[in-house]
Symmetry: C2
Subunit: 381 residues, 2 copies
Amino acid sequence: MVAQINYTKGFLTPIREGQSTGTYTLDRLPLQRGGLLGPVTLAYETWGTLNALGTNAILVTHALTGDAHAHDSEHPDDAKIAWWNPLIGPGRPIDTDRYFVICSNVLGGCSGSTGPASVDPRTEHPYGMRFPIITIHDMVRAQHTLVEHLEVRQLAAVYGGSIGGQQALAWAVLYPEMVQRVAVIAASGSLTAQGIAFNEVARQAIMADPQWNCGDYAPGRGPATGLSIARMLAMITYQSEESMEQRFGRHAARREEVVSPTAHPDLGGRFDVENYLYHQGESLVQRFDANSYLYLSRAMDLFDISEGFSSLDAALARIRSKALFIGINSDFLFPARHVRTLAERVRQLGGNATYIELASPHGHDAFLKEWAQMTVALQQL
Amino acid sequence: MVAQINYTKGFLTPIREGQSTGTYTLDRLPLQRGGLLGPVTLAYETWGTLNALGTNAILVTHALTGDAHAHDSEHPDDAKIAWWNPLIGPGRPIDTDRYFVICSNVLGGCSGSTGPASVDPRTEHPYGMRFPIITIHDMVRAQHTLVEHLEVRQLAAVYGGSIGGQQALAWAVLYPEMVQRVAVIAASGSLTAQGIAFNEVARQAIMADPQWNCGDYAPGRGPATGLSIARMLAMITYQSEESMEQRFGRHAARREEVVSPTAHPDLGGRFDVENYLYHQGESLVQRFDANSYLYLSRAMDLFDISEGFSSLDAALARIRSKALFIGINSDFLFPARHVRTLAERVRQLGGNATYIELASPHGHDAFLKEWAQMTVALQQL
């Protein structure tokens, strides 16, 4: 399906035994919506050792603003240092003693992989908005070339949540013979109208910032205000009414006050939830590229697992993997009932699909917080 | 409680029998958060005739971007012409044959009442952000002076939804002897952390627009982009995941394409839901003032019915009205369980409170759409 790809030798830097970081570059990637992109570099990390047959690899796919650093073997317990830390490691659900675990920064990202902030070789300037529209399928096809480059013949599993869950699902549909098990977490076959709407408000906020300048800005001088506002909104959709009520309620700001995205004075005081959101906005600006945010959130919107197939059933019937679908009862970005319906459909089509629902007040983000429930759930696969 | 108010004669313009529009100006209004505002003008409309005792009046309070035109006796069936049209009129739940119905544009609004766009007599320039912080209590106290000016001695009922529901609740608590019946619809004693968070994202989007200019802009030259984005977000929170899915799903834009707030090209096509939100944003910009949006949404956040009393119970125990609380099962801005809990609390405190839940996919906006259910519900009062 991915034709005419010439492999360029990647760089693999061993950090310590069983953990390495690397980059891999392919000359060009044909894109689902047309055109070729190249060269395409993917930054990745691995943990554990690939067996001689190349059959014990696990691919982990990250969420919207995540990166390849899913696990940190030096600080294996702190989820702030590596986003899925508690689930990965020796004896953990994603067991690095038994498996060769791979996580790559997504195509279109800004943590080492090719994205809108990368230099376009044709112009020697950053792509900016000249970056092509990319889709979940493109991300998965790029990961597929990486996995083959790493001499993986069979993926023992693909695990991902949110936009990473969309990728996991696409893996199972696009490469059914290669994926033995798949966990699709807090994701479904396509985003809801409400989800698209939230994403578009966030994008408009970014593009409304004069510093965005149609996507042409120097590194570190991007639309900080717009990206902060986008992040504030996104953070609401990753939580739930209940968890925000528990955590913030109507308390006045209790921590050190940070500057709001617009830096305008508070109107009659500041609520704790506002201060928290300002902080989240500011943090994202330090580590994320606004154009990447536009492209990746759009890929999330555009994803429809049926695209390119005659029907949704035709797409889902391709799945050969043992599949685990995990919904979250308080998730309103990817409502649990859509995840459950997807699992049921796969099973009705003859697939081996299980559905587990996390009971959590944490909303969409529960797959990054509910370590005990996630551990139990992943062990079902 | 409202001391030293000097009444200025208002203007009352009869339109046709039983319907009139007017303005009423009071010299100054002491504000809950301190200071005096004045003069304060309220634009209002009335339908029906006040009886000689002044005891058959009904006050209707409007939602965030609403106005005094709750009913149009010339076009009594079109909710686009007047926002509560189908509920008001001869023989309807708010029966203009029996009652003298009043609706005034809220303090801080921009449809005839004093708000940030009004001229500050001290400077002879619009208030802009020099307008003081106003609260729901201030709005209600201003309405109280209007109602007294109209020679109403007893309100047979106060009805309101959303921020109008907050006002209705405040009426019952602040003026218990004056309000015989009250309907608090899609509103509770205070907004959730999530609700505050959504409002603050919207406000940041407005203030991030360079055209906002710290609130100083000429009429018609305000922050159109920021206000549009704010409205896009608000429109999501007024609906539900289910209703948006039913209405828009993942369809491509099906109506005439409107310009997005930022006017930047679409990223890989346009979804119908996006086009709809752009249209909603554009429409609000035509009729609403951005600074009013900031102040009114902030009043919604700041509202806590317990404020000024020793406890929530102390506030609610003041209610003497027969009270109807209406929640909406799909409302996520004012979740039904909070409305129900409030009703239960009033009843536990000895009040005469009934709770009715609308079963509707329309989310918060159901009180502006579910006419049959609303008719039945209001008849319970």
